[in-house]
């Protein structure tokens, strides 16, 4: 776990400027499909392990389509955590910039609801509300079949993914500190309930 980061005063605190940076740390992916759930997993781990300064939100967004636009509109910075399909060994971490994400333009699609990260960023950009800073922390998956658990190599990469998020917060000059006594929020990672009150 990284040490608490105490930021010095920054320009934005001065009079006449917006004092609070709006930042979203979002985990994206399907928690029912193995390593695709790494984004939500890390997001929930972050929100139960750290407290962040006002303006910084951590969200498990699941699998949004174009409504991702609503979540990213008007942000100063967006940090996305998502599994990536790049053929690299499971657990490999690759950082993508906004340009990397939108480079190929939106796909022409049969299914208008497929993952819409590229479209959402481009649409927000078109209407002038895209986040100023975007970082995608991509984790190569190795297992995407039905199941609520991460594969061993992806699980082993989780701590490093968390570090990448914190490093980005440092770079953005945002503070955080370890949270006390917060419960794990990763509800899907439990074994099936053993029993239930039966009447």
């Amino acid at each position: 776990m990284r040490m608490p980061h105490v930021r010095p005063d920054r320009k934005a605190d001065r009079e006449g400027e917006s004092p609070v940076k709006q930042v979203l740390i979002a985990g994206i992916g399907n928690v029912l499909l193995g390593d695709d759930g790494v984004g939500p997993y890390v997001a929930r781990l972050l929100s139960s392990s750290y407290s962040f300064e006002p303006g910084v939100e951590v969200e498990d967004l699941g699998t949004p389509a174009l409504d991702l636009i609503d979540h990213i509109t008007g942000l100063d910075a967006l940090i996305l955590i998502d599994s990536v399909d790049d053929g690299l060994p499971g657990g490999t971490i690759t950082l993508y910039s906004k340009d990397d994400i939108v480079r190929h333009g939106p796909p022409v699609r049969m299914d208008p609801h497929s993952p819409a990260l590229t479209e959402s960023l481009l649409a927000a950009e078109f209407v002038g509300t895209a986040p100023k800073e975007v970082l995608l922390i991509g984790i190569s998956g190795s297992r995407y079949d039905a199941g609520c658990q991460l594969s061993a190599p992806v699980q082993a990469a989780v701590a490093q993914v968390v570090d990448h998020v914190l490093i980005e917060l440092d770079r953005l000059d945002l503070s955080y500190e370890p949270a006390q006594n917060k419960q794990s929020e990763i509800w899907w990672d439990d074994a099936p309930v053993a029993s239930l009150a039966v009447s």
Binding site: T63, D67, G105, M110, D111, V127, A146, P192
Partner: protein, 566 residues
């Protein structure tokens, strides 16, 4: 010469829709719809607590979250024969209505309008003419010349930069695009405005559901929204009033912008009222119960066989026996082993993958059948089922839409022409107008019921020791959704979700009958096999959603259509 076109934007991981069409002399002579990923995620539910199933099912897909949550709690409540309080019905209905409005608006403007609207024609438009055209169609207050000019300037800037961004990879300049520059601009200015209004609907879902895309406020037996009219912390009058303001704004947008646009654009492509009919057996379940016991509904359900609206059969409850008994899933052409036809309560999900084989197995989608026949589901099915039963609200908005369309088209477009690609778009706009009106009604029902002093939101479930089974139905934005659950000793033994896109994207069955997507493509014109816009138009008109799969980001970009000469 026959050609086979494979449209497959799919990566290794994402389970999405692939369509293959065979083209002879510029027309589709055969079609196959397939999904490239196994949707066996229901398996995860086995052995779990049925009270928690909805948390998992709403993760099937990020677009349809609320609908899978709703069908799941209803399925367990049906198994328990557990009624929910009236307040819970109204709160659920408001979530469903606002989710549906968000979905329909986004589908029309952001996911399918650009099949018909050519963005690159917009710089040629005259904003003043566009504004007067818009004002002739609707009293909407945001149709001014300045509004049109601002939208046009955005497109001009993007076009001048050479970086089309969100509009790269469109089928611009395709011969099947033929709106005037002014109509293109009009539609596009509303595309931008629609981004604001879809968000308002989602805000209402978030205010009731706690968050989107995955709501938090359901429980088996009701909802978890504590009610206290004087409190700001829970559901009180202040929050209800905020919701009402948002819902009124969306209702105005839907009735003054979406419906007029859908009618005008469809009328300008009136030949598409004669293309894309396909399967004419229509299925819809009743939705928006108006009493605690769910005996009366504001959206009617039923079944129309063979496109004959006079032979409609009504479903009177969520527990309608016709529906429960008549649904089977056929796996003749799907990558599953086992018996060909099974009822969902007995459903098996044992994968048996082969390659894509045109005359054998070619998809991961099962083929649901109603009375052994394929059935089309979605807003068109719902509108026709309601119209056929003389449902006043359906008649009101359908007649209004058909009048508008006929006026612009200069010829009569009637109910018979709704069996088509454009009919599906028109029906979705009609349904949106109905939902907007019903949203106001159900808001009032909730407020009035609370005012009577009823603050009840939840009836606790209690599980018997033996085996029980239930079905939860929901008429979702994409059509009839049903979750089928078997519970044994308080734990889930079997769970099957028969989703709308499974009905519509289903493959052939044992009798060789095409599924609705496949049938709708037969005989469609194809101007240019390299750019199969016509196929996209018809498939998009169903509002497909195969996203019950992964959302993995694919950094490489993929081409979409491959053409093979046979």
């Amino acid at each position: 010469m026959a050609k086979r076109i494979t449209i497959d934007p799919i990566t290794r991981i994402e389970g999405h829709l692939r369509v293959d069409v065979q083209v002879d002399n510029g027309r589709v002579s055969d079609a196959w719809a397939s999904c490239t990923m196994w949707r066996g995620i229901e398996k995860i539910l086995e052995g779990r607590d049925p009270r928690e199933a909805w948390l998992f099912t709403q993760r099937f897909c990020g677009v349809c979250t609320t609908v899978h949550a709703m069908a799941s709690v209803r399925a367990v409540e049906d198994a328990l024969k557990l009624e929910i309080p009236a307040n819970a019905q109204y709160i659920r209905n408001l979530v469903l209505i606002n989710h549906g409005l968000h979905d329909h608006i986004v589908h029309f403007y952001h996911l399918s309008a650009l099949d018909w609207v050519d963005v690159l024609q917009i710089p040629k438009a005259d904003p003043a003419k566009t504004s007067s055209l818009a004002e002739s169609l609707s009293p909407w207050t945001r149709n001014s010349r300045n509004e049109m000019k601002a939208a046009q300037d955005k497109v001009k800037a993007v076009a001048a930069s050479g970086q089309l961004g969100i509009f790269a990879n469109g089928y611009w300049g395709h011969p099947a695009m033929h709106l005037s520059p002014e109509v293109n601009l009009l539609a596009f200015s509303h595309y931008l405005q629609a981004l604001e209004y879809q968000r308002k609907s989602n805000q209402v879902v978030g205010m009731l559901g706690g968050k989107t895309p995955h709501i938090q406020n359901l429980t088996v037996g009701g909802v978890s929204n504590a009610i206290n009219l004087d409190s700001q912390a829970v559901l009180g009058m202040e929050r209800l009033e905020q919701m009402k303001v948002l819902m009124d704004e969306v209702a105005t947008f839907v009735q003054q912008v979406y419906l007029p646009d859908a009618c005008a654009i469809s009328a300008m492509y009136a030949d598409w009222f004669g293309i894309g009919s396909g399967v004419k057996n229509y299925l819809a379940v009743p939705e928006l119960p108006i009493d605690a016991r769910a005996t009366q509904f504001d959206l009617p359900g039923g079944y129309i066989p063979g496109g004959d609206v006079s032979s409609v059969r009504a479903f009177h409850s969520h527990a309608d026996d016709q529906f429960r008994q008549s649904v089977l899933e056929d796996v003749t052409h799907s990558y599953y082993a086992g018996k060909t036809r099974l009822h969902p309560w007995k459903g098996e999900t044992v994968p048996e993958y082969t390659d894509w084989q045109a005359d054998k197995k070619y998809t991961w989608v099962k083929a649901p059948r109603f009375e052994n026949k394929p059935a089309q589901v979605g807003p068109l099915a719902q509108v026709l089922v309601g119209y056929a039963q003389g449902h006043p609200l359906t008649r009101k908005w359908t007649d209004a839409a058909l009048d508008r369309i006929s006026t612009v088209a200069g010829r009569k477009i009637g109910v018979a022409q709704l069996h088509s690609t454009m009919g599906r778009h028109a029906a979705r706009a009609i349904r949106a107008c109905m939902l907007a009106e019903l949203g106001q009604k159900h808001w009032q029902l909730l407020v009035d019921n609370i005012a009577k002093g009823d603050l009840s939101i939840h009836n606790p479930p209690s599980f018997p020791s033996g085996t029980i089974q239930g079905v939860g139905t929901h008429e979702a934005p994409r059509g009839t959704l049903s979750h089928w659950v078997v519970v044994d000793g308080g734990k889930i033994k079997n769970y099957q979700a028969v989703v709308p896109s499974t009905w519509n994207a289903s493959p052939r069955d044992i009798a060789g009958a095409h599924g609705p997507y496949e049938a709708s493509l037969l005989d469609s014109p194809i101007a240019n096999p390299e750019l199969p816009l016509e196929v996209l138009r018809t498939i998009h008109s169903f509002d497909p959603c195969m996203a019950c799969a992964c959302h993995t980001f694919d950094p490489t970009g993929k081409q979409i259509a491959k053409v093979k000469v046979l």
